[in-house]
């Protein structure tokens, strides 16, 4: 049993290594041998539809994105709690059902609150 466990994660590590290796090898090792490198100041300007870029792009952005990120954290963690429940559901029986209905209802209240506060609107 322990062997399968280790082997599985050896494979995962190999896949991650290969996943990093391909971009690094093609961009940083093989690429420079094949491609030209003649940088000029014009080439290295930021693209802005042909105009000279106005100001910096690193500015404060809309707070909407932050609220969506918060909602995501709440609901994604909720789903993580649902998974172990789903796996063990057949063994746990009615108790698990009632408990999860309560849990989901609490989160639906949160969703309705966000809905009513017009957080889900995009403008």
């Amino acid at each position: 049993m322990g062997e399968i466990y280790t082997n599985n994660y050896v494979i995962v590590a190999i896949f991650l290594f290969l996943g990093v290796l391909l971009p690094v090898a093609t961009v940083s090792i093989i690429g420079p041998m094949l491609r030209p490198k003649k940088p000029t100041a014009e080439k290295q300007t930021t693209y802005e539809s042909g105009n000279i870029p106005v100001g910096d792009s690193w500015v404060r952005f809309n707070v909407k994105y932050y609220i969506f990120a918060l909602l995501f954290v709440i609901f994604d963690v909720e789903t993580l709690f649902l998974y172990p429940w789903a796996v063990a559901y057949k063994e746990l029986g009615l108790f698990a059902l009632v408990e999860m209905v309560i849990f989901i209802c609490l989160l639906v209240v949160g969703l309705i609150y966000a809905w009513r506060k017009k957080v889900l609107e995009w403008n």
Binding site: N8, V24, R35, K37, Q44, S49, Y65, F68, F75, W122
Partner: protein
């Protein structure tokens, strides 16, 4: 493959796994090459055009030529970009796309890692790609990139929630998160019939996760030029494209495994056809669906997109979980 998994871990075995993974990578690159070719060809036919037909017989070498071109193009980095993050972003986008393939069972015997938490592994790693996209958008120091990257991140995290929730129904029915066991539990009936609601939510949310039409707002050419990868050229750009198509492969495999019985044949009488063929046919049908949608669907507005995820898909996914749970309890006589 499964025999090797049972053995004591050793360097020799790790080398075998490595070689097998390289073989998969080569197959994958072939898949991506011809997925792009057929995408252009199929959409061409659907729009009464011919599509690529110049490079090689029937244009079959078109994508190969495109990749070669990208490889020998100069790699330009804007002077105002954040150097480190600019270099990191393509790796962040691509590496998880390949790593998620480690858990997919292609047939009963052909599988890399047999993780008990297969679904969670897939979801957790595929979430990292959002970071690559937002990093690319931010590091480029370009206004189009920043807007594209932020939009993309908002879209991907919004649709990830219903995507993850729609799978809970499948886990409820199987009682396991192991992808192999999920396929084996579909011997009698494929999951897309009892889990129809979950399947519908998954299909729509997957489309948004893949940034494919109709949810291709992050790359909306008509308003954002190219989205988060405007400033990328050469092979760094190719890595973003590659990640997109590798995810298409991964998502197709997930749909096949979760809802269409993986390597199982349509009818037991047809089981003389090898499982890998069934798997490939189902996966390719999903890929074809992508091309079909791209030739058919218009793009929604940003506001429609975001409210659809939270106001329609999320409640439907929750409803699906409740219905599934109640039906399972009813069947086992608990209610």
């Amino acid at each position: 493959m499964r025999d090797l998994l049972q053995q004591t871990p050793s360097l020799g075995n790790a080398l075998w796994f490595f070689l097998a993974a390289v073989v998969l990578l080569v197959i994958l690159l072939g898949f991506v090459t011809y997925a792009i070719y057929f995408e252009r060809k199929v959409i061409g036919w659907m729009q009464a055009r011919i599509g690529p037909n110049r490079v090689g017989p029937l244009g079959l070498l078109q994508t190969v030529a495109d990749v070669a071109k990208l490889l020998i193009k100069e790699d330009t980095r804007p002077k105002h970009a954040d150097k480190a993050l600019y270099a990191l972003a393509p790796i962040l986008a691509y590496a998880p796309a390949f790593a998620v393939l480690a858990v997919l069972p292609f047939t009963e015997t052909l599988q890399f890692a047999d993780l008990g938490i297969g679904i969670l592994y897939y979801i957790a790693l595929s979430g990292i790609t959002v970071l690559g996209v937002i990093t690319a958008g931010w590091a480029s120091n370009n206004k189009y990139s920043l807007i594209g990257g932020l939009r993309s991140a908002a879209q991907m995290i919004s649709y990830e929630v219903p995507l993850v929730m729609s799978v809970v129904g499948v886990v409820l029915m199987t009682g396991s998160m192991n992808l192999r066991e999920i396929v084996l539990a579909q011997q009698d009936m494929w999951n897309f019939i009892p889990q129809f609601l979950g399947f519908a939510v998954f299909l729509v949310a997957a489309q948004a996760e893949l940034n494919r039409t109709p949810f291709d707002l992050p790359e909306a050419e008509s308003e954002l030029v190219g989205g988060y990868h405007v400033e990328y050229s050469g092979f760094r750009f190719a890595m973003f494209m590659l990640a997109e198509y590798v995810y298409m492969f991964g998502m197709g495999a997930m749909v096949t495994i979760l809802f269409f019985g993986g390597w199982l044949p349509i009818h037991p009488a047809l089981s003389f056809i090898p499982g890998i063929v069934w798997f490939a046919v189902k996966l390719l049908l999903y890929v074809f669906l992508q091309f079909w949608l791209r030739a058919t669907m218009p793009r929604p507005r940003v506001d429609q997109l975001m409210s659809f995820a939270w106001k329609v898909l999320l409640p439907v996914a929750l409803l699906n979980i409740l219905i599934t749970a109640v039906v399972i309890s009813y069947q086992s006589g608990m209610i």
